[in-house]
Amino acid sequence: MPLPDKNGYFGVYGGRFVPETLMPALEELETAYYEVREDQSFINNLQYFLKNYAGRETPLHYAENLSKRLGGGKIYLKREDLNHTGSHKLNNALGQALLARRMGKKRLIAETGAGQHGVATATVAALLGIECEVYMGAEDIQRQALNVFRMELLGTKVIPVHTGSATLKDAINEAMRDWVTNVDNTYYLLGSVVGAHPYPMMVRDFQAVIGQEVKEQILAQEGRLPHHLIACVGGGSNSMGLFYPFLEDAGVKMWGAEAAGRGLSSREHAASLSAGRPGVMQGSYGYLMQDKDGQVEVAYSISAGLDHPAVGPEPSYLKDSGRASYLAISDEEALEAFRLLSRCEGIIPALESSHAVALAVQLAPQLPNDEIMVINISGRGDKDVQQVAAIMEQGGVINGH
């Protein structure tokens, strides 16, 4: 049976844990989404923009140098970094913005951490001529000044969030408060497979184009399915986009790379699957970093896009069912992978995607040479070069927030 079920559950995970005011809005959204999912004119319209605006399909590149260097398996890179705006985030932003327009919503709101989802949302808002406001933690605004400028250039208002830890989780809280207040005319364009039903399903579906393309491309290039899929996991959107079309293919193993930050024992990490326990935050039940009283802990990662204490319900379900395996990758391992991919392949990956590359570095040497591995390069690293340069200048000492 396809998941989620009609109540938005993936096994025990998911559901809808929101204020009553949002329940009618979520039901309206769910109904509208089920309609467009079957509507050929909507699908054609989305495909038009994915092809001619986003630049899809993105290439699947055989990373011969990296494969030889790691000495096990054939490694392919799915180049989501070549998507317009520089990451996979646009796939979902386009789908949801077209849905918002169809629903007659006059205003988009979104949250952003590193700024990638904020930029993608600001981009589609400009394209479709819809008013847009993006909530961003004050800490993240400091760390990601370039993306703030991009959003403003695109005509979006960036609203700083000073409450709590002033990072992504607080930006989501503030976006939810805005939505509760302006629920009549506003569409909340959530950026990951998190939150209340139908968001985890809908965002996954809009990102599934990644895995669908990989399937066609690898069959064309290799004539067989891959043995391993690897993606980084913050909320989980790029990993679900890659994994979902392969869930029924029993021979395909799936690996998610979480952020171990300064190490799981340091308490400074963002590894909710490896070190958290299930709980409810921001609309759904899933793995969550929390203390003994159920208070949500502040996450840390060198990568702002993975720096979040919760993960979506579907990755939570895939962990428990054993369908996917999740490993935690430290800041240092991610930084090494960042340099390795840059030098081996001439591709500078986002620090988020560098976690996936680092997992491949661990896995590849154990594999037979004929096994195929696909790594999702979810975004490009241009946004991170200043931060990494500063770290290298300090001789590899990694400073967070």
Partner: protein, 260 residues
């Protein structure tokens, strides 16, 4: 006591021709000791039911005033278990109905069965959970029902009638009607058509109706009182306590009670 202690309060006020005043405070802000003392003073000043707000790290249904109070309470060491212990001690000194208002995760972490048992032992009468809609609330409702504790649901102005009927059918204690679409916090104007809204709820339930969110002044309380059974005031009380201290809160509560 649970449901019956709440029901008795609404009945007594109704018989006296008054509305009930439900006062929310952020438990543990500035300290649990101060909260315990405040509850007794509020009761003497005319509060009929006390909502003890349990602080949470991510209070999505709250505006800036209660958010800030939650963070102060957490920083001062408040937790669900300590709040229940405080209530247990208080119950020896006051018979005022006390309900907890908490986000769902701290309750889940405590364990729903343990929570209901401990609330019962402590003399806490009910529970309001702002991020737990009806569809997800069955496990909690069942746990509370074992001890005749009130599971008080929230209704919003945009709740469609079929939902309203489902929610009302499983409610106990009273029905908490959110006065506007928005988060907690004082508003100058509440534009919702309260009379029509209350009539809609009244048509599907015999339970007392409390109205809250946005109400800060005796004038606002007085204008809404004719259409409901109880007025809920939170942010105005929390704000006054923080800015002006206990004496000012007591004065505000007396004026609110007189107005309804």
């Amino acid at each position: 006591m649970g449901i019956s202690r709440i029901a008795d309060t609404f009945v007594a006020n109704k018989q006296a021709g008054r509305k009930s005043l439900i006062v929310y405070i952020s438990a543990g802000d500035p300290s649990l000791k101060a909260t315990a003392s405040l509850v007794k003073q509020l009761s003497a000043a005319g509060a009929d039911i006390i909502e003890l707000g349990v602080p949470f790290s991510d209070p999505v249904a709250d505006g800036p005033v209660i958010q800030a109070a939650s963070y102060r309470a957490l920083a001062a060491g408040a937790s669900l278990s300590k709040i229940i212990q405080m209530a247990s001690a208080l119950r020896k000194e006051t018979q005022i109905p006390m309900v907890l208002m908490s986000y769902y995760n701290p309750l889940l972490r405590y364990g729903l069965a343990n929570l209901a048992a401990d609330m019962d032992k402590a003399g806490v009468d009910g529970l309001i959970v702002p991020d737990l809609p009806w569809e997800e609330s069955q496990p909690l409702r069942e746990a509370l029902a074992r001890y005749q504790l009130a599971g008080i649901p929230l209704i919003a102005p945009n709740t469609p009638v079929p939902r309203l009927i489902r929610i009302a059918a499983s409610a106990s204690g009273f029905i908490y009607c959110v006065s506007l679409t928005g988060v907690t916090g004082i508003r100058q104007n509440i534009t919702t058509g309260i009379q029509e809204y209350m009539e809609r709820v009244r048509a599907v339930s015999d339970l007392p109706i409390g109205v809250g969110f946005g109400i800060g002044s005796p004038e606002q309380a007085s204008s809404m009182a004719p259409f409901c059974d109880g007025i809920i005031v939170g942010s105005a009380v929390v704000h006054t306590l923080y800015e002006e201290g206990e004496a000012a809160v007591i004065k505000l509560v007396k004026r609110l009670k007189q107005a309804i």
